[in-house]
């Protein structure tokens, strides 16, 4: 079995038009077998274009693509048998049931898993006979994932599988994808939720305006930016007063910045274990009390902001 699930070099896609749109401008990446790889980027970054070229649905303007050691031009059928896909937007036939939809998709593959098995993996057992039009958004996304895995693919492509879902449905889907990855299969997913990439992906490529601007494991990317941690705390009400507005925190050692937002103090620090005792000591002196305190690592979002000067949800400039 090959060790590389996806490899692409110098991938370029220019949509004809006036003016032509350079959606993808030279992307190189390799996804190892068994890896869950995330493609992250804001709207219009070129995620869908990239993934659809890899899926064989779009033809690249130039560049090479290798899927599971095969090439689209030479063995399209073998690749299609081996991959599973969920498009960014597909509306399955409204008046077919979950069971009927999946049975149809299963029939396209020479080998695969039982429909009941796919249904059970995405937790749609009680909706087996419900029509697609009566499913919730999250259930439809799970159906899309079920249709993607029913051919028992070695490589799974998911284009924004959780966009528009509430946090709970999102977490359910993450669990499904995680279990799938745990079987040693490869997954490539796109998202513009940094948290999703951090939760799910072994490695991520952050792309912006058709180019990869950072590539590595989420941890790596964050540590590469200075290994930052975040300490967040809130104070008990009676402590209120001066401390709220006081900017004493930023003067502590190992604290790089301090923000007060919605009743919560957020300190960016390099050494949380040295900063926290200072905070507690300071409060004790003044008779203040903590209501909560948490520490977390800096997020990929912070990496994106650092690299581009923009937040993920903002549109790229001059578009």
């Amino acid at each position: 079995m090959e060790t590389i699930a996806i490899r692409c070099r110098e991938l370029v896609k220019t949509y004809a038009g006036r003016p032509p749109v350079e959606a993808v401008r030279g992307i190189d990446m390799a996804v190892a077998a068994g890896e869950c790889f995330g493609v992250l980027g804001p709207n219009g970054a070129g995620k869908t274009t990239t993934i659809e070229i890899l899926e064989g649905l779009l033809v690249a303007t130039s560049g090479e693509v290798e899927i599971l050691g095969m090439q689209w031009r030479q063995s399209p059928d073998a690749i299609r048998e081996a991959i599973g896909i969920s498009l960014q937007e597909t509306r399955f036939s409204d008046k077919l049931s979950v069971l009927e939809t999946l049975t149809l998709f299963r029939s396209f593959y020479r080998r695969g898993i039982a429909v009941a098995d796919a249904v059970q993996r995405v937790g749609l057992e009680d909706k087996l006979h419900a029509w697609v039009k009566d499913l919730s958004g999250g259930q439809r996304q799970r159906l899309a994932v079920a249709a993607a895995i029913v051919g028992d693919p070695r490589l799974l492509f998911l284009d924004e599988p959780t966009t528009g879902l509430d946090p709970q449905s999102r977490r359910q889907l993450w669990e499904i994808i995680r279990q799938y990855g745990a079987q040693g299969r490869s997954v490539l997913l796109t998202t513009h939720y940094m948290e999703e990439a951090e939760q799910l992906c072994d490695r991520v490529a952050i792309i912006d305006q058709g180019e990869i601007i950072a590539l590595g494991s989420p941890r790596e990317l964050i540590t590469r930016l200075g290994g930052e941690h975040v300490v967040e705390f809130t104070l008990a009400p009676q402590t209120a007063g001066a401390d709220r507005t006081e900017n004493a925190w930023a003067q502590f050692a190992h604290v790089t910045s301090s923000v007060y937002e919605d009743g919560c103090h957020r300190l960016t620090v390099t050494e949380p274990h040295l900063v926290i005792p200072q905070i507690l000591g300071h409060l004790e002196q003044r008779g203040g009390q903590l209501a909560s305190l948490t520490t977390r690592h800096a997020r990929l979002e912070d990496v994106f902001v650092q690299l581009t000067g923009r937040h993920l949800e903002e549109s790229p400039p001059n578009t």
Binding site: R80, T90, R91, K95, L96, F105, Y109
Partner: protein, 362 residues
Amino acid sequence: MNRQTTGGARVANHPLTQLVLSRMREFWRQPAAVFWVYGFPLLMMVALGTAFRNRPVDKIAVTVVAGSQAEAIQKVLQQDERFVGPGGDVEILSPEICRQRLRTGKTLLIVSTDSQSGSNFTFTYDPERPGSVMARDVINNLLQTAAGRRDPATVEDITVREPGGRYIDFLVPGLLGMGLMGGGMWGVGFAIVNLRIRKLLKRYLATPMKRSHFLGSMMISRLLFTVTEVLILVLAARWLFGVVNHGSFVAAAVLVILGACQFGGIGLLVASRAETTETVSGLMNLVMLPMWIGSGVFYSIERFPASLQTVLNLLPLTPLIHSLRSVMQDGVSLLALLPEIGLISLWTVVTFALAMRWFRWQ
């Protein structure tokens, strides 16, 4: 036993079977589609068949101008139940009102006496109106006989009523053709564009599904729908109006299948590029409207000028309806219909070829 089950399962799980099943399920679960494909032609048949059913001899509205012999004329006309006035009986009215009625089409003919030229009776009518001319001749006969004319020859009338020559017998093959056209357009054209809009066509393409299976399933489901569609219409026509097929059953079935294929091809062509519902609806109407009007569904195309008929005869629906009528009404054999069949096949082959060339999967 075991092997049989596996064989059955293999057929059931074949992509072609599954695609056809999905098409059929989607169709049956769409009440609007079921109505337009099955209900509408049926309703049309019932409405038109009833409206033009066993129509008694046409009533002819005539008016008599007040004058010296007006009552005598009225009496003569009352012998024939065809002649009526607006209230039922033929009326005697002033010359002005009579002229006004003629002008507004409320009466077809005015009978008057006391003409200045000295003739006994005067008929005033518009010779362009078919009813008027007939009324003139019939009334002339009645008045002449009443005035004492003796006919030298004796005549005998034998009237026959044979199903086959009625309007409903003419209409049913037309409706069959119209149904095949609508079925191909909605069942293939609209359905495919709908899948394209939903990105399902693209989603299918990302699987190992064979494109030939997809297109094949479209055609197979079309043929299956056609069978029910035709059976419903034909059986209803038979039970309600006693319409029968005077020709060979096989010939009619062959024509129906050819027609279904032809309009399947046209539907596919219409759907080959369209990316929105509006585009495909517009294209479908553009294709269907001329044929509804000009292919002889409701009336014979002989009503159009000869030069126009040459063009209308080339439309896909015209040869289909013509040959269906020839078989069902006159019992003509398929051999005699080779030119029509050739034209239908030509349309089928050309539209399929073009559709295959232009078809866009995403």
